[in-house]
Every structure is written in C-alpha cells, then in structure tokens.
C-alpha cells in the first residue's frame, strides 16, 4: 500500500508541474499504478534506502533516483531497476 500511496502522490505533484521520482519496493505495483518516474529497489519493506546508518549507501540510492529525474524523456512512465554497486573487494 505504501508503494501505491507514493505513486499516487507523485502523479498529483506532476499534474501540478512538479518533477517527481518515486522509489518503489514492489516493481509490480509501479507497473500497475504507473507513476511518472519510479526507481524499483531490490530491498525489503522497511529498508527503502538500503541500510540504516549507512549514509553512502543511502546516497547511492538517492543519486540513482536523481539521475532518473534528470533523464531527458518526452513522456512517462519511466520505471528503472536500481542496481547496487558490488561490494568492494578487500585489498
């Protein structure tokens, strides 16, 4: 339900001329509801920005969302999968 709520909010903002990007935790919901721009996340509910107290991992998700916001396109919906960076190898 959280996914639907943010998708509907994004649509209303966009109708008012505000550019939006919605994070979604269920790709299937975004496919059905069709927000203008959505980033589908590989994380479980409760963890939309990946991990608590991990600013860089949270920033990585936000940066992917902002890049989607900046994507030149003439119409939506745009639905893109987020791909986390692979963990760094130990030196």
């Amino acid at each position: 339900m959280c996914n639907q709520a943010v998708c509907l909010a994004a649509a209303e903002l966009e109708r008012n001329g505000i550019s939006t990007v919605a994070l979604v935790l269920l790709r299937s919901v975004a496919e059905r509801v069709r927000p203008p721009r959505a980033l589908a996340l590989p994380f479980r509910h409760g963890y939309p920005l990946d991990a608590p107290n991990q600013p860089e991992r949270q920033h990585a998700v936000i940066e992917a969302a902002l890049r989607l916001l900046e994507t030149p396109a003439e119409r939506g919906p745009l639905l893109v999968d987020y791909e986390p960076a692979p963990p760094a190898r130990p030196a």
Binding site: R32, G46, L49
Partner: protein, 160 residues
Amino acid sequence: MGDLSEFSLPIRMFLRGYRWRVVDPVPWAPLRVPLARARLALFSSAGFVMPGQPAFDEGIRGGDPSFREIPSDADPAALVDTHRSESFDHAGMQSDPNLAFPLQRARELALRGRIGSLNHRHWSFMGSITAPGRFVAETLPRMAADALADGVQAALLVPV
C-alpha cells in the same frame, strides 16, 4: 527485489486480489531548471511525525488519509515512527529515520550543490491506505498546492 513473499499469507491474498489505482493518463513534468538550481522536497509514506504531532491512526477504516508537515531543520533522530503496520520490520528506520525519511541526506545534497535548495518543509503520511479515495481527492491536492506555493520544483517520494 521486494516481493509479495515478504508478507504473511493473509496479506499476500489481499494484495493479489486488490484493485490497484491506475494513473491514466500519466502526467509528465520535466525539470524546468537544472537540478543544481531546483528546490527539492521530500514525501515519505513511513508514518513519521514530529514530537508533539498526533500519531497516524491505524483505526481509520481504509487507512488514515492525513499528512504531517516536517520542517526542514528538524532533527531526523527526533522523528517518531507512528506507522502501525506490522507487515514490515521497523527496526531499521527506528534506528535511523533517514532510511525512510532522508532529511539529513537531502541536506547534504544541498550542501554539495547537487540540488539548488531544500524546501523549508516536507510531507509525511502513512502509506497503508487500502481505500485511497479521500487521500486522492483531498490530501494529495492539498499537499501539491502547498508544495507548488513553496516553489518546489522537484520531489523525491519514499515508501516504506
């Protein structure tokens, strides 16, 4: 990928039969200015409130359609989780509210110049709304009008 297998059988059955709202036509508002000059606002369905604000009400049939304003200078650690759903793990966002309401991350974006500015307020609601009629007809237009009046040009929306 998050999927329905996260949920209990009754919730999975409910979601499989649920009639999702469909956005049609899909509105489209491209950025009118570079993001480095745009004003950003956050919208989160994680049910956070400020200390002293009323909690969201899980007892409202079909879901609580109300919203709370979160000032941009709020201490993220002070945000109170009032999302009543037991269908997800609350531990992460209680440990770090930025996980679902990334206020500190957004401030850092403004400091880095990745965004032009952060709006002076943001919007919180509780996303477990199974009957979104009032949410769509009343809450969303009000939030959008307020954001527009603030000069918000870009929005990041976060579910939980």
